[in-house]
């Protein structure tokens, strides 16, 4: 299907349930997709960071893309990450996910390779030239170790290279520049500005963002859709309360002991533990070499769920 321009609403980055052996658990994945659609989401983003794309083999990525696009049909658009180090490798993923039916691809700046703004621009231009579907830029400095400058995003939007931005940079002032710059620019229409934050969705929408791509929406899609609707209705007081409830729920990412594991293991481990506790997925395992949560840590995740009325 054609991706709406702009894409609005809640577009969760879909977790990838795994079997105890580390294979993609397709039935759990499809149950998760149904859980998200039931929550009212307006699109799905597979093979992003919350999907553990960095941990999935090419074969597994293909399984995910095919399973999800096949399942949702034309109900909502499916965006797919094409996450790799440089243009030639990204183009291989673009080919794979679009053959599998993805409606748009989500692409970061080059990483591992040392890069430069001129090379980032070249990367997006080459990718967009060769992609059969729209390209959304993914700004994730915590992983990519460079920041997409707002000016560059707007330049690439104006020339038609980029169809949107998923901003997980943590730089809300820079995000605001893109939001207001895109609206003010006569050459930019239909550009989707999406926040990747779990904690600042109300603020992003108040600034004029089109939608949100929060990892925590896997756990509580209904909560994020309600938040989105309150913001659209201009009921900022209720929106703030809904957002604060979700901020408290997000506390689950602190269940994992930082002396024992990294922040990625803790966050993805918590989301998957929560989905398991809620009965959506069959097994909470995360991919290697992530460190699993202990039973006590899973219990703390359960307490977060219970406090939010989700258990």
């Amino acid at each position: 299907m054609t991706v709406p321009a702009p894409l609005t609403g809640v577009v969760p980055p879909v977790c990838t349930p795994l079997t105890p052996e580390g294979e993609v658990d397709v039935p759990s994945l499809l149950r998760l997709v149904d859980h998200l659609l039931d929550g009212g989401v307006s699109g799905l983003f597979v093979l992003g960071s919350s999907s553990e794309a960095a941990y999935l083999t090419d074969r597994q990525r293909r399984v995910v893309a095919e399973a999800v696009t096949g399942h949702v049909g034309k109900e909502v658009p499916v965006l797919a990450g094409a996450i790799d180090m440089t243009t030639p490798r990204v183009l291989d993923h673009v080919r794979s996910v679009t053959e599998a039916g993805a409606d748009a691809v989500v692409v970061t700046a080059p990483f591992y390779a040392r890069t430069h703004p001129a090379e980032i621009a070249r990367h997006y231009r080459l990718t967009a030239e060769r992609s059969p579907v729209p390209v959304v830029a993914y700004d994730l400095p915590a992983s990519v170790h460079s920041k997409l400058p707002a000016e560059l995003v707007l330049e690439l939007a104006a020339e038609g290279t980029l169809a949107g931005l998923k901003d997980s940079s943590g730089d809300e002032a820079g995000f605001r520049s893109v939001v207001t710059g895109a609206r003010a620019h006569p050459g930019i229409t239909g550009f989707s500005v999406l926040t990747g934050s779990e904690l600042l969705v109300d603020a992003a929408l108040a600034m004029g963002a089109d939608g949100a791509v929060p990892g925590l929406a896997n756990v509580d899609p209904h909560g994020y859709v309600r938040l989105y609707e309150l913001c659209r209705a201009g009921d900022w007081t209720a929106a703030r309360a809904a957002q604060e409830r979700l901020c408290a729920l997000f506390g689950m990412v602190r269940a994992g002991d930082p002396a024992r594991m990294g922040g990625g293991s803790a966050a993805l481990g918590a989301f998957k533990a929560a989905l398991h506790l809620r009965g959506v997925i069959a097994c909470p395992v995360t991919a290697e070499p992530q460190v699993p949560l202990s039973p006590e840590e899973v219990e703390r995740v359960g307490e977060s769920l219970a406090a939010a009325g989700l258990l």
Copy 2:
């Protein structure tokens, strides 16, 4: 063949010549290999950073590994990078390069994914368990954005997980800890400690390193082998002069304008321009989205070569 334990001497990270269309130029690659063997190198490291591994598709990586191992036979060991974000993806590359005949694999810590020392240890243990050949750790914080702690390297060496270290961290004090720690540890034998520096080979060997993996050895393998031999002979005065000559030659990486390109484009562009000027490879092109050197910049590379007596 079995990799010597320890591996000593000069082991260049082999550049990957490309055609103007961006395909692997196998005849040029084999000429480059012959040029290196002629220089007296004691091993070859393919699919590392200087090989533009980050820019090569899986298919291209396989072409490189097969071409080089097929060409050198058992003359010298071939180490191959298995460069990817996390364990499952790295294991796919390990499978591919060992099927192609690689004698050892070179593996970084996880990147893109947020990581933790416990996860790095797990990553190397799982990789070593499943690799049919020895695993050499690759410490490259400029790309990986985490540093391998000396204590962790020694722990993994002592338990037999790691067979060696290629250190491109720029932290010579940490490198020294590994060199002296490996020698002092009763449980560590045959562990290869290799510096990835172009500029501090004499210092590294004086500290007790086993060998060097300098990208610039593509351009002047004879120069690095001579430097290695002077160090082994204890002629530190002549070694310093040989090293300083190579430091001056390395100045070619500053030919590319930093306002126009990143440090990777400048360095790899200079190495390939030099190999082209020296008649070793057919085409100096680098992979996308790197920015090519201008004719004036190539001229400056030529001046560096001429000053070193290489043109």
Copy 3:
């Protein structure tokens, strides 16, 4: 005077006008203070980053503190930065500014010295014990190179060590944790949570912040006070428009050429050029070794002022 608990409204970090010789220009400073009071600000913060505290000698800092406290009397509270590397040096500044009449001190974590959360806590506790006035924490990782963790701020607030936070970290999610955590904590009352952002004041107030300390309020105090009042009135649509007008005005910090000067020179140079163009201060010079704006760059600052209706 006693600082309100919490302190609310707009509390500008007051620029320090200098003579061409680099001395504090007291008449200009007092005109600037009057300009700010006329704008309706609810407090003044002297000797912060926008005040070039890092560039002022101890003698000059004392001149500033005395001049401003002497001028405003009890009209509004005067907060004063006690910006130095570690506890003993900070305590010297606390003594000096409180002798000069400051109503509160603003203190960063230790810098230059390598630090640790336990040392940061110790630093604030010792400072608060020995300060005759309340201590406000200043979170400015761009200068201090460590981030104040939200949990630590809340712990220090609950025990009475800290009276407030000026957050210039750029981490709005962490800021939100402090805002909601302070409200939720039974042991915390009257704690002032102030954003240091120029660009996200509406968002910060919507989240529940008490006030704002924007450097750009030197240039347009009336604009920030209007923005504050719109937020307090719950008129978020008008607030957003007022904020966007100030975001455009803030574009003046990009007048200075980044190839020729750092971001500090550009921002402080622009604020002072604007104050000079608006007739508030006699001379736009910034302290050494900052690079001055060129006449063309000053002209661009003037264009920003004109576009905002300030010239």
Copy 4:
């Protein structure tokens, strides 16, 4: 006295012994100076990082400078740190330490203030213009958060702004550029290139450095002077053994628990504990807000001393 050009040998950054109340313990300081002179050092560097300059008040800094210069007379040159954020503040310290008799000043790039290479150059030029004694650049990115580029150091050396470099950057390749660049440049004579490393003194001297400024030389000046002399004699095998003995001794900085304190507290705490255990200073206390070593940690420092034959 006039500082030799170049300054060679071992020039320890002198620790500042404190009383339990945190005041400068002058008798202990003078005993420490005698201990260093007895070790054969060729100069003293007071008010550097190992001196806890960042923690000393201006009054205390003056006490240190006067006590040491008064005590050593013309025996060896005394270099004094003028460590502060920007030019005007640095110039106040330059005035103070030169009035106290310092023979040279040691100055970092601006810190806390955001900076730029053009501003760093301006900072050193203004400082040198107004300093009655030579200016030595101090490259310490761990504290200053910018790196002095080798090209800039050489440019400032050639024009006479800088008399030397103390390099604590950890970037040995960059250090080598300065060493070889200074020797090759026709306009540079007598420029002192000093390493601040404890662990790479042999390597630095082999590259052509003039001397070393290792904090650990407080604890074992004789050991560092012996190392220096072995290097000068070209006995690199014995030098390496002497250096490795000092590397093992340096292990004392890992006695302090990193979960409980920062690296500065651990290193300075260990040096002072060692000086106390060796009977040189009366009290091992470090300045606030550093975390003191526990008795068990001090015991581990003692074990390091004993293993090196220093107890």
